[in-house]
């Protein structure tokens, strides 16, 4: 089969379970979790690739891949249905030797050596499918080439108080990394790894081979490959990224990232003709806003029918909000129905849930209240009150 040589290609790690997203990832892998009214988390990484002129993308799947596979499909929404290259879903497979589940991020790339070899790329971009950000990888590649680096790792400044939650890169004034600390107790810098790596292909596979031989290794980029390269005196550079970046690994951070879309100066702006975020489309009628509706500081998507009140919230497509219902500080996913008089506060509600008339869900934002999470396809009875205690029961019933 004819294959074009590529300068670079992207490998997106999308196999993670994301157990801290609780019920949201019961049926889907973390990258397929809905975000921002009409997107899935992986849309951001895929769109970054396309907007950075990368036309060959491997998506490594493992956990609950069905919905993610369906969603990515042939890559058409991202213009990645290409004759030469395009998007490929790469699940683990059985081979003659060593075919197995992916045993770590590094092992996942290693097991797809054959896929990468087909395109003979000079550089490999390794990405995570579960971050919200808009980044031009082309500038990072230019930096990588200019520094003559073996690997370049994108970093972002985080507050010192949070630095111990991240992998921290310590670098000299030229950006050359001399030390990497995974979740350090006493961080020496605030440069957190974004999970975006560019490697020279040959160098990467040399270290992946070495790591495969090491039986004690966890086969992880952060824990094993980067330290191994550092100890071998490879030229590793960090690339300072200044834009918005968020790991949406927890229910709270997912909610925060949704709220970051709102306001007159949103932290991440999706209304950007120069950097569109693409997503798979669902044919639906535009939104219908009826008499009596009140919408303030909110994102509302096609297919919604709103007759109630919505404040500081994100509504996905097909959500129906009846007259007299009130939604505040919440994220309501696709095809939920909120009946009249229901009140929803500080909640993430997964798809297809029906909230009965007069029901109360969640506690008001602030005042030290925890966020409420309603799993997929629930039926909340009329006048029911859902708070933290019975949330748990609901998840059990759902299982």
């Amino acid at each position: 089969m004819y294959k074009k040589k590529k300068k670079w290609l992207a490998m997106i790690l999308a196999g993670g379970q994301g157990s801290r997203l609780k019920a949201l990832t019961d049926n889907v892998a973390k990258p397929a979790v809905s975000f921002g009214g009409k997107y899935r988390i992986i849309d951001f990484t895929l769109s970054n690739c396309v907007n950075s002129d990368i036309d060959t993308v491997g998506v490594l799947t493992q956990y609950q891949p069905l919905e993610l596979n369906d969603y990515v499909g042939n890559g058409q929404p991202w213009d990645l249905d290409r004759t030469y290259g395009g998007v490929r879903l790469l699940p683990p497979y059985q081979g003659g030797e060593g075919g197995d589940w992916y045993r770590g991020t590094a092992n996942a790339i290693y097991q797809n050596k054959n896929y990468i070899d087909q395109y003979d790329p000079d550089y490999i971009l390794v990405l995570s499918g579960d971050h919200i950000y808009k980044m031009n990888y082309k500038i990072m590649l230019d930096y990588h080439i200019e520094k003559n680096a073996a690997a370049t790792i994108a970093v972002i400044d985080v507050p010192l108080s949070q630095a111990s939650r991240f992998g921290i890169m310590n670098s000299d004034e030229n950006g050359k990394i001399y030390e990497f600390e995974e979740k350090p107790q006493n961080p020496k810098s605030t440069q957190a790894s974004m999970g975006v790596y560019i490697f020279n292909t040959d160098t990467l596979f040399r270290y992946l081979e070495m790591d495969e031989q090491d039986e004690t290794s966890e086969k992880d980029f952060g824990k094993n490959i980067i330290p191994l390269m550092l100890s071998s005196n490879e030229a590793l550079y960090c690339y300072q990224y200044g834009g918005y970046w968020k790991d949406v690994g927890t229910v709270d951070s997912l909610w925060e990232a949704n709220m970051d879309l709102l306001g007159s100066r949103p932290k991440i702006n999706l209304v950007d003709p120069n950097w569109r975020v693409y997503s798979r489309h669902v044919p639906s009628f535009p939104q219908i806003i009826s008499e009596g509706a009140r919408i303030s500081n909110s994102f509302v998507t096609e297919g919604c029918e709103v007759a109630g009140e919505i404040y500081n919230s994100v509504l996905f497509g097909g959500v129906k909000v009846e007259k007299g219902a009130v939604i505040k500080d919440s994220v309501i996913m696709r095809n939920c129905v909120i009946k009249s008089g229901a009140v929803i506060n500080y909640t993430i509600m997964d798809e297809m849930t029906v909230v009965g008339a007069g029901a109360k869900v969640g506690a008001p934002y602030g005042e030290g209240n925890e966020i409420s999470l309603i799993p997929r396809a629930q039926i909340i009875e009329e006048n029911a009150v859902i708070n933290e205690q019975n949330q748990l029961q609901m998840q059990l019933r759902y299982e």
């Binding site: 058409q76 693409y278 219908i288 806003i289 909110s298 509302v300």
Partner: protein, 371 residues
């Protein structure tokens, strides 16, 4: 379905000069995110027609832009799929067509080369959501030569030029065909005809031989007792428009829930359109919106009432949009007041604009205007 869909995209252009100034009527924006041709295309696709030819004449740049490769309608196919047939596609010697019959003469070779048993002839500017399977079913039951789709409705003054009116006998057989009929309760034709491909080819060849010019008045009309034309009653929502006034009136009917229900809310028969990847619509702190249709990608800071906003419209602070249609990517500045306005695509209405039409005579603003 074993049928090829033929869509005539320019056939009614001359009746609405403002709207078709730089597009064909089939490419006219409608309902917040659609173009008129989406309805016939989606109906064909939802009835499992996989080969569709769009016959164009002039001014078809925005239509072709909209159709693209046909992906949105799942018509980007290796076998069949969508094909655009401009005039002169088969011969530069033939004159530019002026009517349905001449358009069909122009694509005789295409029709001859198809493999499908049946042909569905439709206009690209009809708003409806029809199940052609039912038409085929009735066509086979009645043994008709031609099945003509009609609806019992009142045609108003504004659209009579494009409409055909049938007189039917007790078996729904068409006994008389008229155009330019007086407005009253009638069996109004939807310009949708269903027949065997071979039968159509015969009609066209015969018409060429006789030098006929009109499909309804010369081919069907005088021979209505020899040709078995049977009416198929379409009971869903139907609209056609051929002036700014009828465009405005028919668009505003979408604010009626029953109309939307008939046209859009069958999950088996969605209306497909081109995808713009706009983000969701953002409502500002002081947005106030009532009884309106809003597409994605809008930013609304002002007041919107009884209106239709297309994708990517901006409504500034302090601006009141009432009873208006604002098309794609138009900008309404701050502290303006707009009432009974039809603003075409890419219009910029600067701050402090006061514009008003009247409900029977909406004020139309041309594509790309700056006010």
């Amino acid at each position: 379905m074993d049928a090829v869909g033929i869509i005539l995209s320019n056939i009614n252009d001359r009746t609405a000069p403002e709207l078709t100034y730089d597009r064909t009527l089939s490419a006219m924006h409608y309902g917040g995110k659609y173009r008129l041709i989406d309805f016939v295309l989606s109906s064909l696709v939802n009835s499992a027609v996989t080969e569709v030819a769009i016959v164009t004449k002039a001014n078809y740049h925005s239509l072709m832009n909209h159709i693209g490769t046909g992906k949105e309608w799942d018509l980007s196919r290796k076998m069949g799929g969508i094909i655009v047939l401009p005039s002169y596609v088969y011969s530069a010697r033939n004159p530019m067509y002026n009517n349905r019959l001449e358009a069909l003469m122009g694509i005789e070779k295409y029709l001859f080369g198809c493999n499908e048993e049946y042909v569905i002839l439709s206009d690209g500017d009809t708003v409806f959501n029809i199940d052609y399977d039912q038409v085929l079913k009735q066509h086979l039951q009645t043994g008709a030569d031609i099945t003509a789709v009609y609806q019992k409705t009142t045609i108003d003054d504004s659209v009579k030029a494009t409409q055909t009116v049938f007189k039917l006998d007790e078996n729904n057989r068409v006994t008389d065909i008229r155009v330019f009929a007086a407005p009253k309760n009638e069996n109004v034709g939807l310009n949708t005809w269903f027949m065997r491909r071979a039968y159509l080819l015969n009609l066209v060849t015969d018409a060429v031989a006789h030098g006929y010019r009109s499909f309804t008045r010369e081919v069907l009309g005088p021979n209505i007792h020899e040709i078995k034309v049977i009416g198929y009653e379409y009971e869903g929502y139907f609209a056609c428009m051929d002036s700014v006034e009828s465009y405005f009136a028919k668009s505003m009917e979408l604010l009626i829930p029953e109309v939307r229900e008939k046209l859009f809310e069958n999950p088996e028969k969605p209306i497909f359109t081109s995808v713009k990847d706009s983000p969701p619509t953002k409502y500002g702190d002081n947005a106030c919106i009532k009884n309106s249709i809003v597409a994605d990608g809008c930013i609304i800071e002002g007041t919107v009432e009884n209106s239709i906003l297309f994708r990517g419209v901006y409504v500034g602070k302090g601006t009141e949009v009432q009873n208006s249609i604002i098309m794609e990517d138009s900008i309404c500045g701050e502290n303006s007041s707009l009432n009974y306005i039809v603003a075409d695509k890419n219009v910029i209405l600067r701050n402090e604009c006061r514009l008003s039409g009247q409900h029977t005579h909406p004020f139309y603003i041309k594509k790309g205007s700056v006010v």
